[in-house]
């Protein structure tokens, strides 16, 4: 993977709040990802190519392809980042549908939520989410996304399922990121046990540091 790898990653961001969509879009673009934003779980599934009929869905105003053509199933999505709680789809709904789909289940899903509820966090991780980010999401939080997207690219290369067999490529250090202050990689990600890595990353103890500077929580 070369230096241009970041801009090859396409993230689908799902949030019903127009403010949050704008912010997450800017955060992702600043991190050199290509971004598509949608305002609902069902639009996300449409974009990902999961729909009942085979008809071509017309562009809807609430979807902003961000210079991408609306070509279902031709657009590769490397990661889905979604708000936990949106009207119209039950909690975990989008996550579950993606993980239950044979064509989509390998797409890493990251959940965002304004509420730090440990049971919610565990449930999301159990349902297959790679990360749980507390809102408001910071630029530094997005550093956690890259390893998941890299792993998927390598997976499709080798056709291997198990993260244990992949490890992290050495060239991970070389990826430039415009606002990256340090080349720090998430060490736990390269450990063999994915579950353990998740717990290390997103245990309630770990989520607390994110609350520094955020003066309120529910």
């Amino acid at each position: 993977m070369g230096m241009a790898a970041d801009s090859e990653f396409h993230v689908l961001a799902v949030d019903d709040s127009i403010i949050d969509r704008k912010v997450i879009e800017r955060l992702l673009k600043t991190s050199s990802y290509q971004v598509t934003t949608v305002d609902s779980g069902s639009k996300a599934l449409e974009f990902l190519g999961l729909r009942e009929d085979d008809g071509i869905n017309p562009n809807t105003p609430s979807v902003s392809p961000n210079n991408h053509r609306w070509r279902l199933q031709e657009v590769e999505v490397n990661l889905v980042i979604t708000d936990y709680c949106m009207p119209g789809m039950t909690d975990y709904g989008l996550l579950k549908k993606i993980k239950e789909s044979s064509s989509l289940k390998n797409i890493p899903v990251v959940i965002m939520s304004s509420e730090n509820v440990p049971s919610r966090i565990s449930r999301c991780l159990e349902e297959g989410a790679e990360e749980f980010l507390l809102k408001p999401v910071k630029l530094s939080d997005l550093k956690k996304l890259r390893p998941h997207m890299l792993r998927t690219k390598i997976k499709s290369h080798n056709g291997k399922q198990e993260p244990e067999e992949l490890g992290m490529p050495d060239e991970k250090i070389g990826f430039p990121s415009p606002k990256q202050e340090e080349q720090q990689q998430q060490q736990p990600q390269s450990k063999n046990n994915k579950r353990k890595a998740m717990e290390e990353d997103v245990s309630p103890e770990r989520t607390r540091p994110r609350l520094n500077g955020i003066t309120t929580m529910v």
């Binding site: 127009i18 403010i19 800017r26 408001p136 910071k138 955020i214 003066t215 309120t216």
Partner: protein
Amino acid sequence: MDLVQLQRQLVDYKTSLYNEGFLDEQFTQLQELQDENNPDFVVEVVSLFFEDSERLLNELTKALEQQSVDFKRVDAHVHQLKGSSSSIGAQRVQKVCIAFRNYCEEQNIEGCVKCLQQVRHEYSLVKTKLESMFQLQQQILSAGGSIPM
């Protein structure tokens, strides 16, 4: 007022907004996302926040005027307002929303009505202050200066 004085005034003003709790670290994050390719990012996000908040405040007013108040609906609106104020760093608005949600949970109409008044007040304060700040920034830019961040 010369450019240097304007810039100093802006820095002082911003500092006071943080000190008085109107803005928090999240607003700083937004500013850091702004660059020469996206020079209006903060103004755009804040404008979306203003529009969205006004819509929500109207919805809240209507919902609380009903004969039989649907607290779930009220809570849903407050949750949205809490989220968006948090996303732009409007700390005082966010704080009132938290209290507001507690009253919703208790189904306490009086508490909710009081909170609505409070949140309207905090919203209009932060709106005025942000608009003043943007005006000051515009003055600096028009005078050929750059915004001290």
